[in-house]
Amino acid sequence: MSLFSTNTKSVYAGLAMAASIVFPAPAFSSDLTLALFTSPLGEVLKTAAIDPFRAETKLDVNADNRDWGIGAVRAKIEGGSDVWDLVTVEDSEAIQGCDEGYFAKIDKSKIPALADFDLMDDKLECAIPFVFYGTVLAYDKSRIGTEPTSWKDLWDVNQWPGRRGMNKTPIATLELALMADGVERGQVYETLSTPEGVDRAFKKLDELKPNIVWWQNPGQSRQMLASGEIVMSVTYDNGIRFFNKTQGTNFGLVRKDTITSVNYWVLVEGSKHVDNAYKFLNYASQPEVQAAITNGLAISTPNRKAMDFVQEDLKPYLTSNPDNLGESLQVDAQFWVDNGDALQQRFDAWVASK
């Protein structure tokens, strides 16, 4: 790949060999390694799917945090070393990784439960959906006074003075800026596909810029809301419900114009535990397991049959609830695969500028 690789590679190979004689490799061998998003989703996956799977199959399953290092998957494929088998990814990561061959094709006929799944995309041969959720506007009811009702209110610094938390990514941020600027839900991507539309989104963000605190991990947004560091935040709907339940906070959220995203399981190309990976995917796709994830985190499941096992009191809060879904916009992952590089660069430029 690189200019120096032929020489250095052999040097390192020699070094690695020498090193492996001196220091035996750590005796951590597992039958399957999963790389999960950070808590709470990662935690819930552990209790709802991984621990029972481990108990049932007696397989040595290792669950890692993927928060730091999706780049490792690519480094791994270039180097052929073995780290992860199954990884949880976001929609645009799934499309790009499938196109680029980092993720292996999954034979969906080997996972019968998928017959009951929504959100199945035949074009996406290497990923199966396991949860979906919405990007919403959240606030602390105990501090806010009048509750906001739309993305427009995020911009209203007169009625709600103070800083706002936003996810430091152009994805969903540009969409919600357009909606706050009056673009209809259905017109968002049409608008964003034109240079004028992109300018319009950035111009809208300009207005709010002095009041934005960026977060890079949803946990930060909840923590900043709880400590009063910010008055409201763009964040994920299910995390809010989860935080209220576990931390005793009283956060509220705005349902209108939710931007929904899907998370997928992908199988890393070159995995040495393909059979175990299929075993796990089969296990995790069952209605009961899917429902356990939903019950644990108020996050929606693509498995229709799982709804039979979902707690009744939870159903109104779910992104997948027809009332909520009707008010939502799904992230156009293909749009972001095509335009992500350019928009990311412009977004970085905009964030860094005065």
Partner: protein, 416 residues
């Protein structure tokens, strides 16, 4: 090797033996250095050089589309795209049996021209499904993706045909090549990296000035105190210095937080409006000062200890004002320590990553944060490498200045 001369038959035996044993001693001495040198070359210096190599490395497109690259080699912007190029591209894409064999090239082209990734990928997929019997490759390609009729697509391939490129370095300086090859600067609203470079240097400069402002009098106090007091003050400097940086960053995060000690203190003093102390430049500057001020105090102290009091007294007795004594007598003598301390603080500030990530807002994210971002999130490794080149060149320019000023390559905090 200064003393070594070729031994001749006429030279006295003693001199010859001496030369030989001196040579042997030098060889032995070098053999002691060699393990560390080889180790660093393999484990650290080699990898850094490899990374820098990535900033100009551009072989993905030529590897995936060899015929197309050859066919475009003589094409000039402004003239029609040669028919041979259409044919070559069709053949190259048919050859790409899996999407993966095309992926890195598609990714590279997408950096230069948004949309190229899916343009190339869909063309390949449709091409492999379609029947091959045609001779009008131009029409075939344009029917698969209309964008092939735009010469910009072809210019992007031509410019990425490698084996080396200035694309990433130009991008890192907010410049780009037009399809005709001319270099232009990006408009201000699109320039991402120069503002980050400015941010990095502004923070480093601010913290260095703060470190001088606070470190200088403190070092002076240490140097003029009794041994006992100096020992206690030294303890105060060294203890935070040895405490893990992460601990200190978290401490500042809690102190400066909305419900932190400082805020409560200010509220108790009658300040009712909640102050935002966290996620801004102030928080980053304070934490960096706390982390790096020992690098200023220690070299200053070791120089100040050696300044003879008699010089100052002599100057004062000759009628010089305290300011003159300071400026004309004291400052020149402590200047080496001041230079060493300033450069140490400045260089370290250029490389900070965790402090802005945890305590800073969007405008405090300098080059190191961007480098990590492009490595891990967007996977644009060429750009990460190009940003590293810029950072490393700045650091080494300063280090060179340091070596010139202190006449030593050693970064040390003690007396020399």
């Amino acid at each position: 090797m200064r003393h070594w001369r070729p031994a001749s038959d006429h030279a006295p035996t003693i001199a010859r033996d001496q030369a030989r044993s001196e040579r042997a001693a030098k060889l032995r001495a070098f053999m002691l250095i060699a393990p560390l040198l080889v180790f660093l070359l393999v484990v650290f210096i080699g990898p850094v050089a490899t990374l820098l190599g990535r900033s100009v490395d551009d072989q993905e497109v030529a590897a995936a589309l060899p015929r197309t690259v050859t066919a475009l080699s003589d094409w000039q912007w402004g003239t029609p795209v040669p028919d041979s190029a259409y044919k070559a591209l069709v053949e190259d894409l048919r050859e790409a049996s899996t999407p993966a064999s095309l992926a890195s090239a598609a990714g590279r082209l997408n950096y230069a021209l948004p949309g190229m990734r899916s343009q190339l990928m869909t063309t390949r997929n449709r091409l492999q499904r379609a029947d091959g019997a045609t001779s009008d490759f131009k029409a075939l390609l344009e029917s698969l993706s209309p964008k092939w009729s735009e010469p910009e697509s072809w210019a992007a391939i031509k410019q990425a045909s490698g084996p080396v490129t200035d694309f990433y370095l130009l991008t890192a300086l907010d410049m780009k090549r037009g399809p005709d090859g001319s270099i232009t600067s990006l408009p201000a609203n699109l320039s991402a990296f120069v503002p980050s470079i400015v941010t990095t240097f502004t923070i480093a400069l601010t913290v260095t000035i703060l470190a001088i402002a606070f470190g200088f009098p403190f070092a002076y106090l240490m140097a003029s105190a009794s041994d006992r007091v100096a020992g206690i003050l030294m303890f105060m400097v060294l203890l935070p210095f040895l405490t893990a940086t992460m601990v200190r960053i978290l401490a500042w995060g809690i102190l400066l937080g909305r419900e932190g000690v400082i805020k409560s203190g200010l509220m108790a003093l009658g300040l009712s409006e909640p102050l935002d102390l966290l996620y801004n430049r102030t928080a980053v500057n304070i934490a960096l000062l706390h982390i790096f001020v020992p690098y200023m105090v220690l070299p200053l102290y070791s120089v100040m200890k050696t300044v003879p009091q008699a010089h100052l007294r002599a100057a004062a007795s000759l009628g010089a004002t305290p300011l003159t004594v300071f400026r004309r007598v004291y400052l020149p003598q402590v200047a080496p320590g001041l230079a060493a301390g300033s450069l140490l603080v400045f260089i370290q500030c250029l490389g900070v990553f965790v402090v802005p990530a945890i305590l800073g807002g969007a405008r405090e994210q300098g080059l190191p944060v961007l480098i990590a971002h492009y490595v891990n999130k967007t996977l644009n490794w060429g750009l990460a490498a190009a940003l590293s080149v810029i950072l490393l060149v700045s650091v080494y320019l300063l280090y060179w200045l340091f070596v010139k000023l202190t006449k030593s390559a050693t970064l040390s905090l003690g007396a020399r």
